[in-house]
Amino acid sequence: MKNKNTKSLSTKIILSIILVFFIIIFVIFAVFEKINKEAFYNIEIEKANIIAKTIEPLMALNIYLGMQNKIEQFSLQLLENPDILAVRVFKNDKIINDIKSKEYEDNINNSFVIKKSILQPNTDKKIGTLVIVYSNQNYKKLIDEYTKWTASMLFALGVVFLLFGIYIKKLLSPLRTIAKSLKHYSPNKEIEIPFTSANNEIGLISNALNNMQQKISQYSKKQQNINNYLEEKVNEKTLELRKQLYIDNLTELPNRFSLLNDISCTDDGALLIINIDDFKEINDFFGHIAGDDILKKFSCKLKGMFENEHNIELKRLYGDEFALFFMQKPSLEHFIKTAKKLIYTVGEMIFFHENNEVSLRITIGGAYEIEKVLEKADIALKSAKKQQKPFLLYNENLNIEKQYKSNMEWVKKLKKAIKQDKIVPYFQPIFDNSSDEIASYECLIRLIDDNDKVIGPYEFLTIAKKSRLYSSLTKIMIEKSCCKFEHINCDFSINLSAEDIINPKIVEYIKQKIKKHNVSNRIIFEILESENIENYEKISYFINEMKKLGCRVAIDDFGSGYSNFEHLLQLNIDYIKIDGTLIKNLDNDLNAQVVVQTIVDFANRLNILTVAEFVHNKAVHQKVKNLKIDRTQGFFLAEPQKNTNNF
């Protein structure tokens, strides 16, 4: 392709010349045919006309004077012209003279006829007609001559163009030579470029190419050096990265990628994942440096334990998680025995950090089949942790996969419900025990599924917290509840988790909404006591902020956790909602009665109102009243409804 292009320049010029040549030929012939031939013919006709015009007055005079012998005499004189083949004179319509030359018969086919009216002298009266038969010979000779000269001219022109084309080709041939010399050019090899001494444009190009060659050569050498240096560095870095990729920096054990690589290289094998229990506490207590130190020592001891076991590869997955990968599947008995031995041995180990003795416990999850071995071992580990067992071997009956699947489906459902506005508040009234009137409503979250089935929070709240959708649900409940009670003159309560309260964005959102809907004097925030409230300071700050706005606060499920009355005193709350587990058997559980009585007494002293939840029958309701609990909530009195006016 390149070769074709380089050839084409001179070829194109020559082809252009040929094209121009043919166009010129065509134009010349067109002119010749259309103009010259016609002009030549017209000239001959004009000549004949001039003759007729010249002779006509004499003919006219002779006809007029009746001197016919003179007409014949003039006709004979006309025939002396070799181009005139015949002369015919009519007096009116009668032939009075008809003379033909000797050449008439031979040339009659190559002739034309001129007719001229004969007018009476001194008048316009027609008295006869002069007919001259004129030979075409002269015209033909003229055309032949013209054709000959035209052909000669075209031939000469063709020769000139051909020579011109050859000259152009010769002029451009140095470029071809230069191109040939450049064909095998490489930056490492200097070539001699021809025509550098030529004193024309070719010379300029050659010199420019020569200079360029030298610069490229210099640049190439520099580039080569840089490349060599970079190649060396890249190799070093590659090795380093490969090491980092497969080796854990802290323990210098093969890492998770190494394990994945090993798993993909075998169709046999088994895996034990080892997790150090509560290692976070060690980190928190002794610090991360100490934690790292203990991890190093732990890995060293594990290495020592399995250094002679060539079938077993020790890996560090991340943090406090290690793995023993069996390259070939051992007997199940040996596999379990190894795990148990490991648990026992680690339990016996003592680590020292700055004269502090640290002992470790581990939990192990095992998978005895290579297919999805990592996932299965991980599931087994999580199950073991959940069940607080030191070792668990994966089997299908763990049902964990099913639970994972269910969780994932719930996440989808939740997202869809949020998108389609299917998260709604239901309202359950709370009755004042002294008046049996509705004192307030608790706003309870509900999800309406695709079949319009109303689903309670127990099905999806845990998943919502895990999937980070909980804050979205809180926002929806706040917005919809505040909107609902904007024009209803009644107190209402919304549940908040500790997670909501420590989230500044949610707190800001709450403030905006209660201002927007002007419900600050009617809203009550129910904070779950059963949740592990770790940061009482933040909860206290939130409560104070809300109380400044005129809001009230309740502790929900009080009595379910390790209720701390001292903390409760600090929180400046308005209501205590006694946990349902204490209320539901209140009618016949004496212990529950004692606890509830204690809570009510405590609340009364602090001017805190008490609320009994889960009141499900009349006996419990009566007991609640007997214990002087201020308010009652439960299915016995009213179930949660979509609208408040249903009560």
């Binding site: 007055p57 004499l58 006219a60 005079l61 002779n62 007029y64 004077l65 009746g66 001197m67 012998n69 003179k70 005499q73 009476q120 002298p121 001194n122 008048t123």
Partner: protein, 177 residues
């Protein structure tokens, strides 16, 4: 003697009358009126809208003149081309500059030849003579029958403002100085 003298006179007259070439007379009678029409200024020479063609003769040629008149009338039916004409026969002795005429044709008028030519010249009209020798006396045209009919034109009298012939006529005449 008296009788002999009268007879001789009559004989001379008869002899003189027969000296005209009848063919030439007819040729001249045919051609001269036509030549008159080749004058581009013929319109200026009309008299009362007519061409007056005057035949001038000597006493003895009266019959010849009449014959010529008769011949012309027979061949032209009262019109020279589009112009009506009248032929006047005038004796040479009676022709004067007062004679109204468009052209003059003179038979042999030996003694009055110059006078006739001068009158024609004076009037600016075309003069034709039977005898070619009269051209020397100042006539404009004459005609001779040679191999064919030949028109003679007196070049000296051609250049006048009152006569303007078609060019072709001048191409076919023979000029006489």
């Amino acid at each position: 003697m008296k009788k002999i003298t009268l007879l001789l006179l009559a004989l001379i007259t008869i002899l003189q009358a027969y000296s005209y070439d009848d063919v030439l007379l007819k040729a001249q009678a045919s051609i001269f009126p036509k030549i008159m029409l080749l004058d581009k200024k013929i319109e200026e020479k009309l008299i009362d809208g007519e061409i007056i063609y005057t035949i001038v003769y000597d006493q003895q040629d009266h019959d010849t003149a009449k014959e010529i008149k008769k011949f012309i009338d027979e061949n032209n039916n009262g019109f020279f081309d589009k112009y009506a004409y009248k032929i006047n026969l005038v004796k040479s002795s009676e022709l004067s500059s007062l004679t109204q005429t468009s052209a003059i044709y003179a038979l042999i008028t030996s003694q009055n030849s110059k006078k006739i030519a001068n009158i024609a010249k004076e009037k600016g009209i075309i003069s034709f003579s039977y005898d070619i020798n009269d051209l020397k006396n100042g006539f404009l045209f004459s005609l001779m029958l040679e191999k064919s009919a030949v028109l003679y034109l007196n070049k000296a009298n051609l250049y006048t403002n009152k006569v303007d012939f078609v060019v072709s006529l001048l191409q076919m005449v023979k000029f006489v100085d």
